[in-house]
């Protein structure tokens, strides 16, 4: 166990249930590195849903509420609402966040609640054996699209930006240093931050869609296909080549939801004290 692991992992739950070479374990490390650099482990409260990536937070020795499929974001809102000083982070997957949990992503982003959603994207439903996901490439032959996927992909970052997220980044597990930097940025960002992580899945995506279940092959695939491009006008060109734009896409300051709640409560209480209503 490396020193970072000795310091922060929940030892009695080890080993990681992830497959050999899975990107999820790399995300555990990149996130813990960020937490260590910031010294904020006691302020963390995690939530997660269902799927491989939902287990990322369980192995960290922090408070975690792992709920139902697709519902990690409302759970996070309940936890944040009851103590806004918490640093709330949700680990979710492309299915958990964009399919069943899509509605919750829209509204949490719209509210600009101070929390971080980390969406681990392996372009498939891996835990259940390799079914198509909203993020799966057109043409893919998955367990539920045996004749080829005919549905268009949904881009989580574009959805988050459109819904009102104030920090949006996409990186991959092939870039752990940039990932740690993005995590630190998100933990310090006041508002809704969304980090999508392209992550290798040797056993499902690799085996069924990319032609190889070798961890090295799948890791290299990410290195080859993730291209740093932070200018949205250039994304179409990159996507047309079958590649994935990564980078820090957005960071702006907007009124944050819990601060607005506190402001409203104050205003209402003052008005009431004066005998008024609003």
């Amino acid at each position: 166990m490396n020193p970072l692991g000795e310091k922060y992992l929940r030892k009695d739950f080890l080993p990681f249930l992830f497959c050999p070479g899975c990107g999820d374990g790399m995300i555990v490390q990149a996130f813990l590195q960020a937490v260590d650099d910031l010294g904020c482990v006691d302020d963390l409260a995690l939530t997660a849903g269902i799927g491989c990536s939902a287990w990322i937070g369980v192995y960290m020795h922090v408070d975690i509420l792992k709920v139902l499929h697709g519902r990690a974001i409302p759970a996070a809102i309940g936890i944040k609402a009851t103590n806004p000083s918490r640093k709330v982070v949700t680990f979710t997957g492309d299915g958990d966040c964009l399919a069943i949990g899509g509605n919750h992503l829209l509204h949490a982003a719209r509210r600009n609640i101070d929390m971080t959603v980390v969406m681990v994207n392996n372009q498939i439903y891996a835990m259940t054996g390799g079914q198509v996901a909203p993020s799966t490439v057109v043409g893919s032959k998955t367990q539920t699209t045996p004749y080829g996927n005919i549905e268009k992909q949904l881009d989580g970052c574009k959805v988050a930006i459109a819904a009102g997220a104030t920090m949006v980044s996409r990186w991959s597990t092939a870039q752990p240093k940039q990932l740690t930097r993005a995590f630190k940025k998100a933990l310090n960002h006041k508002g809704f931050s969304f980090i999508e992580i392209m992550s290798q899945c040797p056993v499902q995506t690799g085996r069924y869609l990319l032609g190889s279940s070798s961890p090295q092959f799948n890791f290299q695939w990410l290195k080859d296909h993730c291209v740093k491009e932070e200018d949205p006008s250039k994304w179409a060109e990159i996507e047309a080549q079958g590649k994935i734009p990564v980078g820090d896409f957005l960071q702006i300051e907007q009124p944050e939801f819990m601060e607005e709640v506190a402001r409203m409560n104050q205003r209402v209480k003052e008005a009431q004290a004066k005998g008024g209503d609003r």
Binding site: P15, G21, G25
Partner: protein
Amino acid sequence: MKDAEKIEIDRRYCKGCMLCKYICPSDVFEPGQTRSDLDYLMPRVANLENCRVCGLCEMHCPDMCMTVIAKKKRKEKK
């Protein structure tokens, strides 16, 4: 540039994915013959003297098994 004292691979959690060998720029690792507690074939530190303590294997190991320990310098460099 440093020299490595030791590279520890935690046999309790190693899953033999060999990403350490893949990412290493200095050709330190080779496939080994020992099995980890999880029954995967572990990598072997074949060329410790090549290690520059870049830390990439430690950073990339998906099971956080790798610890690279640098040699302590006897004299302080000015």
